[in-house]
Symmetry: C2
């Protein structure tokens, strides 16, 4: 039996990862502040500490554990929302990383795996962007994620294996259908289901690289199994760009209902478009995405209809 800390297991990605780990008969501990996640989403059997990962008193409670890996998934996860309370964003995405790295060093946990983001990249690359390309965060959220990546690169020298996964647009079952400012697919889908009307804050030609939750969980597991005490950064993407317009048409098509679409305003810190080259993680760890957007949306929409 292996022991894991998965921060944010009440949230979309954290809960899926924790579920996967606990099914394989591991012991899983989580910290979650329930600010956007749900207590009910924490898989049964997971040991739950309620609180913030940047809080000394919460971290202290974990010092008696031995973990084979720390998966740091918790954090404020919206570029838009990062402008509402910049200091909370910094604490939640960056100070938390420092606290958990300190914990890893203290309890001699050798593997530290971080949910970073494609938001760190320069906007509108000419081709699928690779890990070596230019960085230019446009949101406060992305600034804090990039700082965490930098911390991990530095702390790797202290004997840790550190990995940042730059997640592209993750979607799928378990995504938050209540918060309409977080997660492009869930925002449009929730509006379509609830209001038969989708309000898009930004242009229709913006594009994203949508990656399915099961594939993302697989990527975390591939990283856990990697060897070497070094620092790595990997894109978790599909290499395919999908415009907002095309995504919405797919959603409406699957729902097969009469849904109106309105484009209005913009979103602070929004990228026009980024899509990602995943050849590094494919070549080094053998990961590639398995579920295409049409299939992923079918599955997600089937699930979502039961939620609303």
């Amino acid at each position: 039996m292996s022991n894991f800390l998965v921060t944010g297991a009440a949230g979309f990605i954290g809960s899926s990862l924790a579920q996967n780990l606990i099914e394989e008969a591991n012991r899983v501990v989580t910290i979650d502040n329930l600010s956007t996640g749900f207590r009910d989403a924490i898989p049964s059997g997971v040991i739950f500490y309620e609180g913030d990962c940047y809080d000394d008193s919460v971290i202290k409670k974990l010092e008696s554990y031995k973990f084979d890996a720390i998966f740091h998934i918790a954090g404020q996860s919206s570029g838009e929302i990062s402008f509402d309370d910049p200091v909370y964003d910094l604490k939640s995405n960056t100070q938390s990383t420092l606290q958990l790295i300190k914990l890893a060093l203290k309890i001699e946990c050798k593997k530290f795996i971080y949910a970073s983001t494609m938001s760190v990249y320069e906007d509108q690359p000419k081709r699928p962007i690779s890990e070596k390309d230019n960085l230019k965060p446009k949101s406060l959220y992305a600034v804090g994620k990039l700082a965490s990546e930098n911390y991990m690169r530095i702390f790797q020298k202290y004997g840790l294996q550190t990995t940042s996964l730059r997640l592209f647009n993750v979607y799928g079952e378990g995504q938050n259908l209540i918060n309409l400012r977080q997660g492009m697919v869930s925002i449009y889908l929730a509006q379509a289901l609830k209001n038969k009307h989708i309000l898009v804050k930004g242009g229709s030609e913006r594009y994203r690289d949508f990656v399915y939750i099961e594939d993302v969980v697989d990527a975390f597991m591939c990283v856990y199994n990697r060897s070497g005490y070094n620092n790595k950064i990997y894109n978790v993407s599909t290499g395919k760009k999908t415009t907002v317009d095309s995504l919405i048409k797919k959603i409406i098509n699957i729902l097969n209902e009469d849904i109106s679409v309105e484009y209005h305003g913009s979103t602070p810190g929004d990228q026009f478009g980024v899509y990602g080259d995943f050849s590094k993680i494919k070549n080094e760890l053998g990961w590639s995405p398995k579920v295409g957007l049409d299939e992923g949306l079918e599955r997600m929409i089937k699930w979502a209809k039961d939620q609303i």
Copy 2:
């Protein structure tokens, strides 16, 4: 009369800048936590608030002021020390910037000028490094400074004029001669004066670009006078590289005493060497360094002898 906030006016650079501003009959307010600065160093006439710039309750006290510019100089200023308490470093260098930008927006202060660092650059460039070159922070300190620069670039869109000065190795009168982990010139000079022995934590062939305090204060004033509501980053450097060995020989030569030198160990997060191209600030704002290293050291040593 203009009104300024200069954070860190009990410290080396902040006190020099505040002194310069107050001599020109301006009103100057400062925040300083006196963690490494000295109450006595705050120029007389400066309005002093004791506390941390990252602390809401301290920032709140300044909301009734109108400032023509905020110079954010305060912060934990040592790469080495950033490893002692990473969370304090992040708060002091990054959370503080967010708090002060929020203040600037609230009180409609249009100019925000930040003391950044050459530590954000990739180590050992082949030529004097320019603002467009690769970034690769090696210390936690540098990660936090870079995050602040990124925040400023983003917030410029809210109608601010933001400027980051990437200060190279600043030295001169007023540098802390007590803290032997902060400031290469002051560390060696203080040891030479006190112990007749210099312990160097790192190799003799490492090099730096030393820039004199008066020139640095001039650079801040040039930036204050610039126009345009945009974001700019400038090196404040001399374009000259000086090895540790050569610096120490200059110091010993000026002191004209028998001083032993010992090279031992290393410093966490230390760069081997960086020197800076200052053509951007020269071309755009007309700044260039006036005081050479020999003259600057003469002046500093004359001052330091009276301190010890």
